[in-house]
Symmetry: C2
Subunit: 194 residues, 2 copies
DNA sequence: CTTCCGAGGTAGACACTGTCTACTCGAACG
DNA sequence: CGTTCGAGTAGACAGTGTCTACCTCGGAAG
């Protein structure tokens, strides 16, 4: 992994977080990395290549964050699921640049016609597994396994979106406020599934 | 409301749905509408203006769809809420072009520093009201009113996002399959809140 | 009737973008 | 030594958003 490649990637993610996807310019990225306007092209092929690389890096990070959080939560399946959900939302908040790119099919093809993205599959697989284990522990028994997964995933993903796009409130959240909201939501979901 | 203005708006929405936000070009829109490359500029001021107009139109349509569906659902508050949620998701699926633009803060400012967008406030307000009424009817009593709203909104919004961005499945959904999933999700949520 | 003006439209020019092609340079390797 | 190849540079091209300047025409003002 070339050093310049990572530098370009970092600059791109930073730009997405700052100005949104539209604000990312191949040449601006090159300028920030202090190279010619063709250097990024050499590493990523084209614009789409940069976005895809951001997507891969993002999904790998998301999978790691979920796994780590749920592992640290201890043996209780519902606590592990909650921790995973909180990690999902926190990842979105801490990596807006990645998150914005990851879930837009016109930017990144998760289930591409040629081949799917394994980083994404891993993140999603972990989520499915955690839901299954929570259900084996007696939660959400009124639902089918698939519906339980769909319900929790949608909730977590939707909240992450509403949060980072600033839909929920006029004023911006401080990190502490967002954490509070996240925990309240996780609490609500787990209470409702109990 | 000029006729050309609406024509330009329609062409833009169509382009977003086809190629994503990145695929929309001021000049391509003008070409599709059969006018000079400066005609759209005259109506919308700048690129941002078109996106904002799409956002307004979208939120107005969303509010109308939710209201209509919940009104048609009859007196039961939970059925009304379910109908509203289904309408939310169906709107996203039927108006991908609008929906993609509406919830990206770098494209449309819902809570702008100058003034907020009343169409969005109306849609959100309806959602909040429906949740309140469902709770008054005895659903989700283990939650605070705000948490109940947050939970259902996040779920519906997240599912809509996952659905239209094609995250959920390798194969694309037919409309009938998507409807089935939507109803299953609504059922799961209402069962879990009962 | 003339004059003015503003809404709605046009064309041209500018800097900027993504991408194509062609070039350089140094290291690896036979 | 010659060759190849990865990594980088520079120049050119069409396409983009936007600025400025023009045209046109229906009314209102005088």
């Amino acid at each position: 992994m070339s050093e310049l490649r990572q530098k370009i990637l970092d600059a791109s993610v930073e730009l997405v977080a700052e100005k949104g996807v539209r604000g990312v310019s191949f040449r601006e990225v090159a300028r920030r990395a202090g190279v010619s306007h063709q250097a990024p092209y050499h590493h990523f092929g084209n614009y789409q290549g940069i976005l895809e690389a951001i997507g891969r890096e993002g999904f790998a990070g998301l999978a790691a964050a979920i796994n780590e959080a749920s592992a640290a939560a201890g043996p209780d399946a519902m606590q592990a699921l909650t921790a995973g959900g909180v990690a999902y939302i926190r990842f979105a908040r801490d990596h807006i640049g990645h998150f914005r790119v990851m879930f837009q099919r016109d930017l990144v093809e998760i289930h591409g016609s040629d081949e799917s993205m394994p980083e994404a599959e891993e993140a999603f697989g972990t989520l499915v597994r955690m839901c299954g284990e929570a259900q084996a522990a007696g939660y959400g028994l009124s639902l089918s396994a698939e519906d339980m997964t769909l319900l929790t995933w949608s909730t977590v993903h939707g909240f992450a979106n509403l949060l980072i796009e600033g839909v929920l409130e006029e004023r911006k959240f401080t990190d502490a406020q967002a954490d509070g909201l996240t925990l309240r939501l996780a609490g609500a979901l787990s209470r409702v599934l109990a």
